[in-house]
């Protein structure tokens, strides 16, 4: 049987603030610690209703609660995070953690109230929250049932929810629908694992954004103890940028691989183009040597002349490429070029040995142009050889028409063929370096070279084409160089 004196004795020795209230809610006893916590003189609270210790807003409701407690007393332990508000004598708010213990003192039902100042604890929590809120990754504290007890501000940037939207919800709200059931199982098995296996290493998983899309995240789980209760701290790092960067990297790798293949094909093509004439010359000269040895002189002169011509043409072609790549800005001498003669000479060389090709020049025979002759020759050679290379075999013959007309201060040259034409989607790339079409050979250099040469002469080149009909190149060259008629 507990007496008032025993209670008083106990209150006297405990360092914990304590209060004894009777069934009417009147304070019967406090200890010095309690009085000092609330800022009262020693014993000043005795005889007062406990509601004096409560904020005004709660006073009325508390009377009802107190009466219910008197009818059905239940022990109330201190619990983590359950703070209530008290008020000091001076009116200052005092966060408290309270325990209520129903007791019988001298045969009367009373209640012992233990109060602990929660200010320091709340400050600590606020400090931890502030630190977690400052973190750039998303952090959640989840209880044993999977309910979100705390989540930092970073969550909003990641999944579109504000922290207050998520508190008290189970973490499955952040899991894509189809994975939720599995996640519940994982979660339970995780919480039943032993300490040693408490950490799951970071894995890439999907989080569900508020708007329904999946966000790639790396998740790390850590088991911790918060105020004596087991909790799991979940750290989520947004991988969206990393995934995008990885995708960009692999796209880049593919692109490089393609470029490499192009470059390989290009060097193969170039080496062929450089080697082929030398091989031809070597073949012709070997024949000449054999003819000389056999004393057969019938074809000797013609064969030697051929070898000489190929060697000269080849040297001139290499010269052209070198001029552009090694001395792009250096201007060569301007000479008068009879356009018609130049076209005829080139055609004779390019179309030699080909059947079913014809040239229809509509160039006035007296049209002479002051320009860098080798550059103009290179342009025309590339355009004419392009027409030959892409001729349409289903047509009885390849026709190339060359036209020239003055347009203001420019000379317009038209090179029109009835070849296979250029597909519309390829047309914009036709002048790109290494742009090759189909398997018709070619190094993908010729038309690029042509454009660069046209630009070197201060002109412009344009193309129009219709698949199956033919292609028309228009080269526009400035006439500011004095034109000689």
């Amino acid at each position: 049987m507990m007496t008032f004196d025993t209670v008083a004795l106990a209150f006297g020795v405990t360092p914990v603030p304590m209060l004894l209230a009777d069934g009417e809610g009147l304070v019967r006893l406090t200890n010095a610690e309690f009085d000092s916590l609330f800022g009262y003189e020693a014993g000043a609270l005795v005889g007062q209703p406990v509601e004096v210790l409560l904020p005004r807003a709660m006073k009325e409701a508390h009377v009802g609660l107190r009466e219910a407690f008197a009818v059905l007393p239940a022990k109330r332990r201190m619990g983590a995070g359950r703070t209530v508000a008290g008020v000091t004598r001076s009116g200052e708010a005092l966060p408290l953690e309270l325990a209520l213990e129903p007791v019988t003192v001298d045969g009367t039902s009373m209640t012992i109230v233990t109060a602990v100042d929660a200010r320091a604890q709340l400050r600590n929590r606020a400090r931890i929250r502030a630190i977690m809120d400052a973190a750039s990754c998303t952090m959640l504290v989840v209880d044993e049932e999977g309910r979100i007890e705390f989540v930092n501000q970073a969550v909003e940037a990641l999944v579109g929810y504000r922290p207050e939207d998520l508190l008290g919800q189970t973490v499955e709200v952040l899991i894509p629908e189809q994975l939720r059931t599995a996640h519940r199982v994982y979660r339970r098995s995780f919480s039943s694992l032993g300490e040693g296996r408490a950490m799951a290493r970071g894995r890439m998983v999907s989080a569900l954004h508020r708007d329904g899309h999946a966000v790639a995240v790396e998740g790390v789980l850590n088991r911790v103890e918060v105020d004596g209760a087991p909790r799991v701290v979940v750290t989520l790092v947004d991988l969206t940028e990393r995934v995008a960067a990885e995708q960009a990297m692999s796209a880049r790798a593919l692109e490089l691989e393609r470029l490499n293949a192009d470059l390989w094909e290009f060097s193969r093509s170039i080496s062929h183009d450089l080697k082929a004439p030398l091989v031809s010359v070597s073949g012709l000269l070997t024949l000449c040597v054999e003819d000389l040895e056999a004393g057969e002189h019938g074809e000797l002169a013609a064969t030697l002349a051929r070898a000489k011509e190929i060697a000269e043409n080849s040297a001139a072609e290499i010269e052209e490429v070198l001029r552009l790549t090694l001395a792009p800005g250096v201007e060569g001498p301007q000479v008068g070029v009879a356009l018609r003669d130049m076209v005829a000479e080139l055609w004779e060389h390019l179309a030699a040995g080909l059947s079913g090709v014809q040239l229809r020049p509509t160039v006035p025979s007296d049209l002479t142009l002051m320009t860098e002759a080798p550059v103009l020759r290179s342009i025309l050679r590339n355009l004419l050889s392009n027409a030959i290379q892409f001729r349409d075999m289903s047509k009885p013959e390849l026709e190339v028409r060359i036209g020239a007309r003055e347009a203001g201060d420019h000379l317009e040259l038209m090179i029109i063929d009835n070849g296979i034409g250029i597909p519309a989607d390829f047309l914009p790339h036709i002048f790109d370096l290494f742009a090759r079409r189909g398997d018709r050979g070619g190094s993908g250099v010729g038309l690029n070279l042509a454009r660069r040469n046209v630009e070197r002469l201060g002109g412009e080149i344009a193309v129009s084409s219709e698949l199956g009909q033919g292609t028309e190149f228009t080269v526009s060259l400035p006439l500011n160089q004095e034109q000689v008629k």
Binding site: L284, E290, Q389
Partner: protein, 134 residues
């Protein structure tokens, strides 16, 4: 008696091959084609000559429209379709010494040999052996 076809877009190389084949004295006729399609047109446009070996086909690799390998493949299809010329011997004659081209030639149907340009006298002797063995 044997006929030969030279399939090459470079006229000067056709000339060299023509002279080489002429020196051997083995061919009744030497035809020239500047690409694969031209070759197939000429071959199947010709009068079918039974009881002859060959023809021998000298095939360049890099040509417009159809390269040498594609042309050999197309020839095989035509051969299946028309049933002749059963004794055709295709040899690659290319300025390329790339191992890749040699390997591809080995895998290409009907191709029996690979010769690097320029053609020499002994190359033609080699071709004639291939022709006789066929």
């Amino acid at each position: 008696m044997t006929q030969a076809y030279i399939v090459d877009d470079r006229e000067v190389d056709r000339y060299t091959a023509r002279r080489r084949l002429a020196k051997s004295g083995r061919f009744t006729a030497v035809h020239e084609a500047e690409d694969g399609r031209d070759f197939l047109d000429k071959l199947y446009g010709a009068v079918r000559t039974d009881g002859e070996k060959g023809p021998l086909v000298l095939m360049d690799i890099r040509m417009p429209l159809m390269d040498g390998f594609e042309t050999a493949e197309a020839l095989r299809e035509k051969l299946v379709e028309h049933g002749w010329p059963k004794d055709v011997v295709v040899v690659i004659v290319s300025s390329s010494g790339a191992p890749m081209d040699r390997q591809r030639a080995m895998k290409t149907p009907l191709v029996r040999g690979y010769f690097e340009k320029p053609l020499r006298g002994h190359d033609v002797e080699e071709m004639l052996k291939l022709l006789d063995a066929a």
